[in-house]
């Protein structure tokens, strides 16, 4: 994928340098298993509290939204990313900077709609689903629905109202 704007190339390099510097003092990284297992415990608890999967999905989305609203501040403060000029740039920033920064993965961007207003993010190795086995009776549970909420909340704060599925 091409990084087009010069400004963003700079900030991307600055970001990489910063992250490499951080590796020497691994202070800001928690054990990822703690995060994954905690998320698993949360979903399990929600499944106990709500009767159908749709309600669980809705709740996860809502919690994600609240996280996203706050996370965007942390993201803007630490990443030096400026305002995106178009939606494609937004997609790039989400996939290559935000996901990399918080989950250590880079999802691929596909399925652009002809109008350029819709795309898919494909997570090839989603860290949230490590150790997870879904029982058969939860077929309509969207396990990682929290992420949709996070993205929705974060982007709404930078004035983009979007629909996530």
């Amino acid at each position: 994928m091409l990084i087009s704007s010069r400004f963003r190339t700079c900030s991307w390099e600055a970001l990489c340098a910063r992250r490499e510097g951080e590796k020497e003092s691994p202070q800001s990284f928690l054990n990822s298993e703690l995060f994954t297992l905690t998320y698993g415990a949360l979903v399990t608890q929600l499944c106990k509290d709500y009767e159908n999967d749709e309600d669980v999905n809705k709740q996860l989305d809502k919690m994600g939204y609240n996280i996203g609203v706050r996370l965007i501040e942390d993201f803007l403060a630490r990443s030096n990313v400026g305002r995106c000029h178009d939606f494609r740039e937004t997609a790039d920033v989400i996939a290559k900077i935000a996901f990399k920064m918080y989950l250590g993965i880079t999802p691929s961007i596909t399925n652009w709609s002809p109008g350029g207003d819709e795309f898919s993010l494909i997570l090839e190795n989603n860290p949230l689903v490590d150790f997870v086995e879904l029982p058969d009776n939860h077929s309509s549970l969207i396990y990682s629905n929290l992420l949709c909420g996070v993205l929705r909340g974060a982007l709404e704060m930078v004035s983009q109202r979007l629909l996530f599925q």
């Binding site: 928690l30 054990n31 298993e33 703690l34 905690t38 698993g40 608890q45 919690m63 250590g104």
Partner: protein, 130 residues
Amino acid sequence: MADEALFLLLHNEMVAGLYRAAEQGEGENGRCTTKLESMGFRVGQGLIERFTKDTARFKDELDIMKFICKDFWTTVFKKQIDNLRTNHQYLAFTCGLIRGGLSNLGIKSIVTAEVSSMPACKFQVMIQKM
């Protein structure tokens, strides 16, 4: 690799979400603490299984407590846990985490937390003899 900010926000939201749900109807606040504690318990059980798969068998309870305080704690939090915004409802999860870890090492315990001066917090572990 997961970023610390992400865990802090997730944990915040777990607490807030549970209390929000309780306010809207079912149950009293005490149930929320229990729920948080039991979520921590599950996570503690999972983590201890992952962490001890290559360690030697523990000699006694003291040995186990040392492992929990040193290895377990630092692997999970990378430092002394000084930045979870501490107050009692926020500590329920962590109490459960310790209890779950101990439970899978064969120690039945009661873990309580106490905050006397703000950044510091004290966990008390009571071991129940079987």
